[in-house]
Amino acid sequence: MKILNDLSFTIKEGSITGLIGPNGAGKSSFFNALFALFPSTGSIKLEDIELVGKTPNQVNHLGVCRTFQDSKLLPQMTVLENLMLSSKYSETVTLRRVFFDSKNLSEEQKNEQAQGIKLLRKVGLEKKAHILAGDLSYGQSKLIEILKLFMCDSKLILLDEPFSGLFPEMIKVITRLIYELVESGRTIIFVEHNMKLISEICDHVIVLDAGTKIAEGTFDHVRKIPAVIEAYLGD
């Protein structure tokens, strides 16, 4: 079955692009295709590197990180372990190093954990570092998902509805974190249904409907396009 069709666009480095469209338009599917979780044809390039045909871990290594629409924290691991899992550093820990380079290793591991704790402190969750992620509230786990993005060394970040179901105060916290990610040189594509947030945060908007792009431009531009109005208001 084909979910996405004839979809083509370019994302500018350092921008925040909103990917919007009705339920079932194919927004999450696009993220999955980019991450090689769905088979795809065509071409998706990060700078000059082709992503189609890579495996999910290769896509990550090339500098892409993401969140999922439903929280994907690992419930039977601690909050800190969840953060560590997305750290690029963890990949450098081989069995050889565990036994033959243990001094450097434990030093590095301490630094990396301190980094995780620092992030938690920033959002006032340092007390939760050692509890199981499954014991977090919904909003807290959405927040930790965003913190994971600071641990991973990325150029491009995909956010799938990072604000859904959140209290306004938490939306502010996460918005601030997203700006921080951009300031540190990352590019962001994010999916969101709240048009007010889209208009506030995004530099650029892409509208999907039934697996195809129906409009693209600034928010004020696309909101006036008849196809978009029709897709949103229904027939």
């Binding site: 990550n60 990180c65 036994f99």
Partner: protein, 284 residues
């Protein structure tokens, strides 16, 4: 006293098995039911080299390690193509094949008759035949197993193994080549099972295929589920409780059939009331 030493030695050997199985199943999430096959490979390597070629026990251990490690590495390719339930079924198939090889490759294994006369460990002229000395050796081996596995599990390497257990997609999206971590865990588990096999062969000085059949793997799984998934101390505790209760039941004159029924019952009760086991950190 002699009897107690014997039980302690058996518990020590089983601790090596349960810790390594927990590394594979509890920490990494690969529900292997062929652990006894690798245990058997180590035991047969020691038994054959010791009885037919007069090799020193300590030199037979690396041979068992290499055989189990290579076989584990090879079978991991088809096995890790399978996920969860299918993995268990492929593991079952592998266990059946290995049992039949031990049973029927009579030139090598002497088949159901087994191999008698496996030597006790010797260092120069010093023999570990006496039970207190053998127990010391087993405790050293179990302690090294604990140290080795615990060391891995305390680093981010262990975090990735657990991540792969919890959600493969997330682990992959976070940049980890899940299958290669699973393969490494499976091979490491097999290696320690082979070490345990060398000890059991030398201790009872006899091996036969029945000691490595499917039900043994199932018992090992019950031990780690009882003691606690994803807990190394839990693995030792599980082996201790199961094996001492076995001796107590035997002493009380409970027949082997009733013992088995009781173990089946224990498994069901744990799954209902404490699925993470006594010291466990992970619910299946």
């Amino acid at each position: 006293m002699d009897f107690i030493l014997q039980v302690l030695i058996i518990i020590g050997i089983h601790s090596i098995l349960t810790m390594s199985l927990n590394y594979v199943a509890g920490f990494t999430g690969l529900m292997s039911i062929n652990h006894a096959a690798f245990y058997g490979m180590g035991a047969y390597a020691t038994a054959i080299l010791s009885t037919q070629y007069d090799w020193n026990f300590f030199l037979t251990i690396p041979v068992g390690i290499v055989i189990a490690g290579i076989v584990a590495w090879l079978v991991s390719f088809p096995m890790l193509k399978m996920k969860e339930d299918s993995f268990v079924l492929v593991s079952l198939g592998f266990a059946i094949i290995m049992f039949n090889i031990m049973q029927n490759w009579t030139d090598l294994t002497k088949g159901p008759l087994g191999i008698k006369g496996v030597q006790a460990p010797m260092l120069g002229d010093f023999s570990f035949f006496a039970k207190p000395l053998f127990l010391v050796l087993v405790i050293v081996a179990a302690a090294l197993t604990y140290w080795f596995l615990n060391r891995i599990l305390k680093t981010p390497y262990g975090t990735i193994l657990k991540g792969a257990r919890e959600n493969e997609t997330v682990a992959r999206v976070n940049g980890h080549n899940v299958v290669s971590y699973q393969r490494s865990a499976f091979v490491v588990g097999a290696i320690f099972a082979a070490i345990a096999g060398a000890f059991i062969a030398s201790f009872i000085s006899f091996v036969n295929p029945k000691a490595f059949e499917l039900i043994i793997s199932v018992y090992l799984l019950i031990m780690i589920i009882l003691g606690g998934m994803a807990s190394l101390p839990g693995s030792i505790l599980g082996a201790f409780i199961m094996l001492t209760s076995l001796e107590v039941l035997r002493f009380a004159g409970v027949s082997a059939e009733w013992q088995q029924i009781l173990y089946g019952f224990i498994l069901i009760v744990i799954m209902f009331f404490r699925p993470q086991g006594i010291l466990g950190k992970y619910k299946i």
